[in-house]
């Protein structure tokens, strides 16, 4: 039973008496600093990645579709090809930078769109209640009844493949998650005194929702969105891997993995590199989401 805090009552009594600067207080501060450091590093990594995919391609000499037949399968660190080349002799670094634009777009755009739609639905549902609430929630239940990736694949599969299709499919599967969160948050805000006061002062429902409830619901939605972007980059790369996203010769990171798969034996770096890129970005968004949550909610720091 070591390590468990069953003696919590006593520990609390002791640490309640503890002045700041005590051993335990210092420990907690260190711990929360370590967490914030992870979030900080993640933010820097993300700024770096966004900067690289935005400005990298602007530097001359990088062409993701330029196939050099003489330099196929070049390994990492080859002269002129820092990350090597793929089976068609295309520069991996160039493809990674150009593909990153699409991959980030496919992770961020649906999350933002779904965040806005879900926020609106959840606000409406939680504030108006009644039949509207019932209808909205039952519709969302239906989307929840599908495994997330399945519905995205089915929607994208039925439509014409492309970046827009991918964004729409991911948006659809995300809306219910945001709406449910926003509804719960709204429900917890509505009974609060300042909302009562606004109502008593004769505020119209839309004004109350926008001015008083929206700001209170916004925080949790932002935290959720940050965490979800990481997951959505993974889901989006999955759709691209299946060929439902951007079409050749352009390739985002998921599609690059699909291309690399064919030559896994011969040139594994073609598969490994884009996957590592997805992993790094998804990890960074997860850490950042945790960091933002901790910053907004002081209770979690002690966990």
């Amino acid at each position: 039973m070591s390590g468990a805090n069953s003696s919590a009552g006593i520990v609390e009594a002791v640490s309640a008496a503890a002045a700041p600067g005590s051993g335990s207080a210092r420990f907690w501060r260190l711990k929360s600093f370590a967490r914030n450091r992870a979030a900080l590093i993640s933010a820097l990594v993300l700024v770096g990645v966004v900067g690289a995919v935005t400005f990298g391609p602007l530097i001359g000499g990088l062409n993701p579709d330029d196939a050099d037949n003489l330099a196929r399968y070049a390994p990492m660190g080859s002269p002129g090809h820092l990350l090597g080349t793929d089976q068609q002799g295309r520069d991996m670094l160039a493809r990674l930078l150009f593909g990153g634009r699409v991959s980030l777009l496919v992770g961020v755009a649906p999350t933002l769109t779904a965040g806005v739609i879900g926020l609106a639905l959840g606000l409406l549902s939680g504030y108006v209640r009644g039949v509207v609430d019932q209808i909205i929630m039952r519709c969302l239940d239906v989307v929840f009844a599908f495994p997330m990736v399945l519905l995205a694949i089915a929607i994208a599969g039925a439509m014409q493949p492309g970046v827009l299709t991918e964004i729409i499919a991911i948006t659809v599967i995300l809306v219910p998650y945001f709406a449910r969160l926003a509804r719960t948050a709204t429900e917890s805000v509505v009974p609060m005194p300042f909302v009562e006061a606004a109502r008593a002062a004769g505020g119209t429902p839309s004004a109350i929702m926008l001015r008083y409830i929206l700001p209170a619901v916004f925080g949790p939605v932002i935290v959720y969105a940050t965490t979800l972007i990481g997951l959505m980059i993974v889901v989006g790369s999955g759709l691209s891997f299946l060929g439902l996203g951007v079409q050749p010769p352009t390739a985002d990171w998921g599609a690059m993995v699909a291309e690399g798969r064919v030559v896994l034996r011969r040139a594994s770096h073609v598969t490994i590199i884009p996957g590592v890129a997805i992993l790094i970005v998804s990890l960074a968004f997860n850490f950042l989401g945790d960091g933002i949550r901790d910053a907004l909610d002081p209770r979690t720091i002690r966990r």
Binding site: A4, S7, I10, V11, V14, A17, A19, S22
Partner: protein
Amino acid sequence: MSEGADAGLIVENLRTRFGSDRAGATVVDGVSFALQPGRTIALVGESGCGKSATALSLMRLIEPPGRIISGRVLLDGRDLLAMSEREMEGTRGAKIGMIFQDPLTSLNPALTIGWQISETILAHQPVSRAAAEQKAIELLRHVGVNDAERRAHDYPHHFSGGMRQRVLIAAAISCRPKVIIADEPTTALDVTVQAKILRLLRDLQQEMHASMLLITHDLGVVAAMADEVMVMYAGRIVERADVDTLFHNPGHPYTKALLACATGIEDDRGVPLEPIGGSAPDLRHPPPGCRFAPRCSAVQDLCRAQDQSLRALAGGHEVACVVVEQERADA
């Protein structure tokens, strides 16, 4: 069993510390007492004075970052603190039964009442599951649960606070322990239920001829239940007396303040006792000399200069106060 068979529970210089050697607090600091069979000792004091930590130390239920740093706890002539963890498992529940403060959270919501009583019996006695369950039903009846046969199959959320405390008492006495430790057994209960639970505890204790360590901050409970009283302050016992002496002729200024406070204020249940100006010392940096000195109205220079240990006055009355000792000697 060794020769010290019916000496009851003897505690010698028990010390328990939370945190490391450098930064930390000794929350139980040199507690000693002897608890004879059939007797009840009340341990009283403000919240955070180390009462509960003392009880948990006796059971060896102190968990990291806390640890027992010294002392002996003798039961049947054997030192509990020197036992292996397995021997200790065989002692808890069998020889010492413990009742906790909050009956609402002390029962496992996922197990039936009957199970939670019979598991104690099964842990210590070589009986069948069915026999243990039958015994559990008898115990439920014994502690005053109506329709015990049926209610044994119910889950805790069907029971009121008072009924849950009865269930917990049934579990604690199921193996007829020699010692009962009751840590604020009625604090979380309605006033109307408190008296019933206390009567039940006393009846059971007398019936089993067990000794009881009763931890409470409620002097009314002390008056009703205890033979002897120990007053604890900042991890130390500051006064020990039989119950009449303590109420009628208290020695330590802290005890006097407690008594003055208790007679003046209505007993608000669950509210920690805060009778005296100032607050208890920070145990990570205890004040030199008497720990009560900063709050004491009768404080003298001598009090801050040297540690005050328990000194015997007349008739088994012990007080850790140099001022009282001088007064009584002069009188």
